[in-house]
Symmetry: C2
Subunit: 180 residues, 2 copies
């Protein structure tokens, strides 16, 4: 529930894009900050698969944050385009349901840039729907590389995460608690 002493809360659309690390991580930080203020948060992950080992899903469970991971079904192969389109549509329908539910003050659509970039969903239709149906006080956070122009135009805040140096460059494996 929003804090009662915030007279004119205006929901923001926040986009974290770019090829660097920190996009999903920054979305998690927003969730933590909003949760600290008592806002009700929901995370929908479009690409990452459901895996109990992710630190963020364990944290969300402990914090009572709604969490959906949809990624297991995508093939990313052109011969399965219709399959991936169907999976993306399922995820988008879920996202629409959650946005309209009245249950959340902040929703993260993690890695949502890809279904739009790859044409699994129609970017124009998705963005038009968000303009018309997102409750004005709801914050929406979208992450992923290669955001389409329609998403850039929709967003109030866009940060591009630029990779300057990556631990894989120096031969380090992904570290639990940091990268997953």
């Amino acid at each position: 529930m929003p804090d009662a002493d915030t007279p004119s809360r205006r929901g923001l659309v926040i986009l974290y894009t770019g090829n660097g690390k920190g996009k999903t991580t920054a979305a998690l930080g927003l969730v933590m900050r909003a949760w600290g203020h008592g806002l009700r948060c929901c995370v929908i992950q479009f690409i990452k698969s459901e895996r109990g080992r992710w630190g963020e899903t364990r944290a969300a469970e402990r914090m009572g944050i709604a969490w959906h991971a949809l990624g297991a079904g995508f093939t990313w192969q052109s011969e399965n385009l219709e399959h991936d389109r169907a999976r993306a549509q399922e995820g988008w329908t879920l996202a629409q349901t959650e946005i309209l539910s009245g249950n959340h003050d902040l929703i993260v659509l993690d890695e949502f840039t890809y279904p739009l970039r790859y044409g699994w969903l129609d970017a124009g239709e998705v963005v038009a729907w968000l303009r018309d149906h997102r409750p004005p006080e709801m914050h929406l956070v979208i992450t992923g590389r290669d955001a389409v122009d329609e998403l850039m135009a929709l967003s109030d805040l866009v940060t591009e995460m630029c990779a300057i140096k990556h631990p894989y460059d120096t031969g380090l494996a992904a570290q639990r608690g940091i990268e997953f």
Copy 2:
């Protein structure tokens, strides 16, 4: 306590820099992810002042995460350089104490780039100390604009947050739960 089934954890030094939004926010996301894995986290904020209204400090309290906010004392005025140097040295001494304490698996030095960039601390000495004294399994996360070269060299992972579009551009005020 680190998960027992992680045989070869190697602490990373992670730097979020650049002029865009999301640096402190991404550090918070790392804290949430690490906390989900049961890692013990500590946040030291060098510039931001202690204010009960911050969502992240409220969240940290609920999550049992150690938190220090040191920023109230800085003047940023050249005529008070010695004062700011003394405040920065106090913060750095606290950071050294926490790093050596054995109590933390991940430490965030939020906005730590500024004391180095502005010469309140000697960047060469600070980085040399971190190279020599940081426990090898400890993750260290540093945020702030204008990171000095010594910090870039120390870090395993560097992401530059680049401002593409900012809500202030469109006349929107800072929103509780998102920006603080």
